[in-house]
């Protein structure tokens, strides 16, 4: 039908919330039924548009948390002073409609053909598109080595914690907790810095492909650090979520 091929890429469409799942006290995954979804690539995002009864509108972008081939899901972090995230994480429920468009993005994406070894670096909710990449890698049975460095405030803030330890394809996950560590914590503590990167990043000589996602200051520090370790700038992909961790 004329227009069908374009629809779903450029146009807004109405999805229905299938299920909401709380990942942490501040973070919720929204599983969606999207009737005209054209499929997506790992790392892409979608735009959400909310309309209030008086016509007031707000738009935000959220990374797709599910892998290509899985039903569309987004993971949203509640920002205390947010306008949209409190609604999505507290009010929205199964059966509600959600207007969205996507998938969007051709830069911060990973397909099997891109190879590796993969160096994934997440700050806070920056884990979301990287989780899509890891789930995709798992689903296609890729043998590309993958290592994830994940920075969170506290252990309770780690999103997808159980899942990240259980990829059959063996992804090495290194955590650093910046604000508080539980008793007996054997992971790293404190913000990611050049030293931690030097300790955990794949050596530049292995020609890794890096994906860095999180608040702007995290991304800038990490990207600079990786380039400092010899990663070519073209092999370090970045996606900034802004100072407060959301968009």
């Amino acid at each position: 039908m004329e227009g069908t091929a374009v629809r779903g890429r450029l146009t807004w469409q109405v999805a229905v919330v299938d299920q909401v799942v709380d990942e942490t006290p501040q973070v919720r995954t929204i599983h969606l039924k999207v009737p005209e979804w054209a499929g997506h690539r790992a790392g892409q995002h979608l735009d959400v548009r909310l309309t209030a009864e008086d016509g007031y509108r707000a738009e935000r972008s959220y990374s797709i948390a599910s892998a290509p081939g899985e039903p569309v899901a987004i993971t949203v972090e509640r920002l205390d002073d947010g306008e949209v995230s409190p609604y999505l994480t507290e009010e929205l429920r199964a059966g509600d409609e959600l207007e969205l468009r996507g998938p969007i993005g051709g830069y911060f994406v990973w397909d099997a053909g891109d190879g590796g070894p993969l160096m994934l670096l997440a700050g806070g909710s920056g884990i979301v598109p990287l989780r899509s990449i890891l789930r995709h890698r798992e689903r296609i049975g890729s043998r590309v080595p993958a290592r994830l460095l994940y920075s969170s405030r506290t252990l309770a803030d780690v999103i997808y914690h159980s899942e990240l330890s259980h990829y059959a394809s063996g992804t090495e996950v290194i955590y650093t907790l910046t604000r508080q560590q539980p008793p007996g914590w054997t992971g790293h503590a404190g913000r990611v810095d050049a030293k931690l990167l030097g300790d955990v990043a794949w050596p530049a000589g292995t020609a890794p492909l890096a994906y860095v996602c999180g608040p702007t200051s995290f991304v800038e520090t990490v990207a600079t650090g990786l380039v400092g370790l010899g990663y070519p700038a073209g092999r370090v992909k970045t996606e900034r979520f802004g100072a407060t961790g959301g968009r």
Partner: protein, 84 residues
């Protein structure tokens, strides 16, 4: 106010240009730096969207929405080419 990057306007660019543009390559008319749009600095909290050179902060692109229509200024770019 910290900048986002060109990824954040992927939807806007798709709407305006009709094709994926975060992988497009642009050259700053001020300092000559070349990069992909996804790595440009983006300021969205404003009357419009301002895209700046990550190297020198020069304004590369401005998108305003005036009465529902996009007004696009690409004057700060010497070149802009969608990925092949």
């Amino acid at each position: 106010m910290e900048a986002l990057d060109g990824n954040a306007i992927g939807g806007l660019l798709l709407e305006v240009f009709g094709v994926e543009m975060t992988t497009a390559t642009g050259t700053c008319d001020h300092c000559g730096a070349t990069g992909v749009v996804a790595e440009f600095a983006v300021y969205r909290q404003a009357p419009g969207t301002v895209v700046r050179c990550p190297a020198c902060e020069y304004v590369l692109m401005v998108f305003s929405q005036l009465h529902g229509r996009y007004c696009v200024d690409l004057g700060g770019l010497r070149t802009l080419a969608a990925a092949g």
